[in-house]
Subunit: 506 residues, 2 copies
């Protein structure tokens, strides 16, 4: 066995993928667990990434005609109960506020006091509270459509949590729209899915499949849930965003009624759509390697770090001036509507430790500058994605930075596309299907699983059976399902109108 390369992250992805993930989150200083069960602290480097995600999405929402607003964090219990499937979906995991003060008891300690007449739920999602508001705003068809998005925190009391992927509190955006017609609401549902797909691929460099969820995987209360689904490096699927066509379900529950063009009264058609801090987990598992995080340049909090290497104190001033000049020239360039963002890390700590810190954080480009580089009018540049390192003339470095960042951005997407292609297979026999998802798969001992494109009869029995036996679910039913041709259900052999995407998932 060849001597293994030393990696910054222990264990490696092959050794223990879930633990590798936790270690990358820690080493990249993205987030950490707090003392409050299931709630995370998003650290500055992770939050800056979230701010860039927000900026990118927010612009796309506004470009498609949406505006932002803010609705209460609390939902009266009776509101949640208005939609039967909805409350059933969320009742088991919600934070309930029952009192509005603390009072000293006879034991000298503080206890909850001032019991509320009606308990309040910390929003797990806002369809019901926003619906109650829309019901007041909408009188006539002239008041439609309402196209609003909210950036907010939500709470779902998950029992098993994992940083970014599943936390009790998380940050997200939730779009809530109301329309005059069914067709318009459907158009909105699909349009926002397309926005998510574009964002995932162009900003996150994370390819996604789109399609519809099966009835069993639908958002509680929705008529249809559309989703974007990505493949992680361990070949599991990650649901990265959803767009729900809610029909008139929530409009009826909340009383969003309007006078139509014929003078009658109709219920509005509504949609909702959201992505969350989970996207950060998706980026880590799409791009990260055994040395830590790799940031796609379009979302990276900073693009370039310049590392002055000062061996003799007398060089300090000159080297720092040289570094700052390069930084200033880099900052004059623009990469996708952002200034090229540069850190000159002149902290007086061990140079190796400092460099590795930035590797682990995943900054796209590092540039070391020592006395010799300065003498040669050059920098020693390293790309995080390929690991490629080279001495390069400083002007060429500055002039080429935008192309370099674009190359990294595209390279990451291509690598993820290739990974997905390698691990996607059309499977038509149940035996092969089982083998594909079984760890002891001899053919690919460390690489079982992926996306199985297989036929399905549309029956929930087959879906449940496969889930029970293999912990494999239907991730999405592609919109163009029929184009690949009909076939026989992988499970029961009954007719299928086309292949769907099976995978293990987060």
């Amino acid at each position: 066995m060849a001597k293994q390369k030393k990696t910054a992250i222990t264990p490696t992805r092959d050794e223990n993928y879930p633990e590798w993930y936790q270690q990358v989150v820690r080493a990249a200083e993205l987030a950490e667990n707090s003392d409050v069960r299931g709630c995370m602290v998003i650290k500055p480097w992770g939050y800056a990434l979230w701010e860039n995600i927000q900026r990118g999405l927010d612009k796309m929402f506004k470009d498609t005609g949406h505006v932002n607003a803010y609705f209460p964090i609390f939902i009266p219990k009776s509101y949640l109960e208005k939609e039967a499937e909805h409350v059933e979906g969320f009742a088991k995991e919600c934070a309930v506020v029952t009192h509005h003060r603390l009072e000293q008891g006879e034991d000298g300690k503080l206890h909850p006091a001032g019991e509320l007449e009606e308990p309040l739920i910390v929003r797990p999602t806002s369809e019901t509270i926003i619906g109650a508001t829309y019901a007041k705003w909408v009188e006539s068809y002239r008041d439609l459509p309402i196209l609003i998005n909210q950036w907010a925190n939500v709470v779902r009391w998950e029992m098993r949590t994992r940083l970014f992927l599943r936390t009790a509190e998380f940050l997200w955006q939730e779009g809530h729209t109301a329309h005059e017609t069914e067709a318009e609401a459907w158009e909105e549902t699909r349009k926002m899915l397309e926005v998510y797909k574009t964002f995932a691929e162009e900003f996150m460099a994370m390819p996604v499949l789109t399609g519809e969820k099966t009835a069993g995987e639908r958002f509680p209360g929705a008529v249809s849930t559309l989703c974007i689904e990505a493949m992680m490096q361990d070949r599991k699927a990650l649901q990265a965003g959803t767009s729900h066509f809610l029909g008139q379900n929530f409009a009826k529950a909340s009383g969003i009624q309007y006078s139509n063009r014929d003078g009658g009264r109709d219920y509005a058609w509504t949609t909702s759509w959201g992505v969350s801090t989970r996207l950060i987990g998706g980026m880590i598992m799409t791009h990260g390697d055994d040395d830590g995080m790799i940031m796609p340049p379009r979302l990276a909090p900073s693009h370039v770090v310049i590392l002055p290497i000062i061996r003799n104190e007398e060089d300090r001033e000159a080297i720092l001036a040289y570094c700052n000049e390069i930084a200033a020239n880099l900052r004059k360039q623009r990469f996708h509507e952002r200034e090229v963002e540069v850190v000159v890390d002149s902290r007086d700590i061990n140079a190796g430790e400092k460099g590795w810190g930035w590797v682990k954080k995943g900054i796209p480009v590092r540039a070391e500058v020592g006395p010799r580089d300065m003498a040669n009018n050059s920098v020693f540049m390293a790309r995080r994605d390929t690991g490629e390192k080279q001495g390069i003339d400083k002007d060429a470095f500055v002039d080429g930075i935008v192309a370099t960042l674009e190359d990294i951005q595209q390279g990451l997407l291509q690598r993820a596309l290739a990974h997905r292609a390698e691990n996607t297979r059309e499977i038509d026999s149940y035996e092969e299907f089982v083998q594909f998802f079984t760890p002891e798969n001899k053919e690919r001992p460390e690489a079982h699983g992926g996306f199985a494109m297989s036929h399905w009869c549309d029956g929930s029995e087959c879906e449940d059976k496969i889930n029970d036996e293999l912990s494999v679910t239907i991730r999405t039913v592609p919109f163009d399902r029929a184009e690949g041709g009909a076939g026989a259900c992988i499970c029961c052999g009954k007719p299928s109108s086309g292949r769907v995407v099976f995978a293990k998932s987060y």
Copy 2:
């Protein structure tokens, strides 16, 4: 009595100021009460204003070396209890989460279930939960300072709420910093107060006084609370932002300890500082008039609305093209690092109603364009601040827009400064002091009150007596208090080192 001008807001400020305020919030479509007690819905026009406030402040925070992060919404009860004054300050008004699911009871209804071992408080402020995190992050003086800000929602269960000014849930930012030395922490406390003052005056066009709060008005647990204090049009004071020097109180409560330069262990010195959606209330009450809101241009969601006046359908296309061309040319200009933001409101509704809608929303500049304006190559422009209207050549309008906006911005600040100067008085006798704050003041029947600059002995007895008798409090003790010279306490006659600011307040 002269016939009164018809106003868009009923009642007027003079008739009923508190009710005028509510009506402006409603008419300007800034916010509304939700069905959840004390929680507001921030409507798109109000939220866009908040986004501009965020953008302006966030840049100032980053320029002063701060980064953003995010901490849990929940605070374990025991954390809040760690600082005795702190918990006393917040225990009486906090939302308490006691259960983590809803379960169907024998009555068939859903009831809180899954009782938590320890109740969680929805953060009213985050010193204790953030302190617990900093305690983990800080080991040595090399880890200091920590300079972090958080944008978040907080909940304080206020009994009497008023939109923006006092709500159970509100949006804010809270900076939390930890330092090696007392002097550094003091410097930070003052620096952030200065940031708030600059923001209030330069962005909000709202002049503020700065100084220190008295012991009785301090943030619970702080050693000292600094504040910015503004005068509203009804001459009451509004505390618009605070910056707290926390000494080592919270560091001791949370265990934020570090190895100092001499190898010993010290507690860090911390600060916290915040402003909230209350600022929006301050802007309404500083600038609004009897026709509604007036937006200071630097924060206005849009700067200009163009209103096509279409009397004949055959003109529609030409007029809209003319309006869109003007809009495109306006958008090429930049006003304080933002593109000039323009709405072309071509909605097919009553022209008067449409125009008044924008007046009430407070957009800085309106430009009407009818067939005659188009024929003359002009627009009919109206300024919201002065009410001034004029026909103006379209190129002159476009070329002059930045100067116009700047003039409005400065004009609003000057008007507010003049109002404050008119209603600030040095008062040295208690009789005059009482008269100043008494509604039956003959001298100024509809204009009693304001800022009384009077001497104070530093005794809480005098402070309490004045509050009990007149509902007047010490808003701030100016930093340069001594410069105006010593004197005798307005209440007891004992020596005073200088004047302080007395006023009624929100």
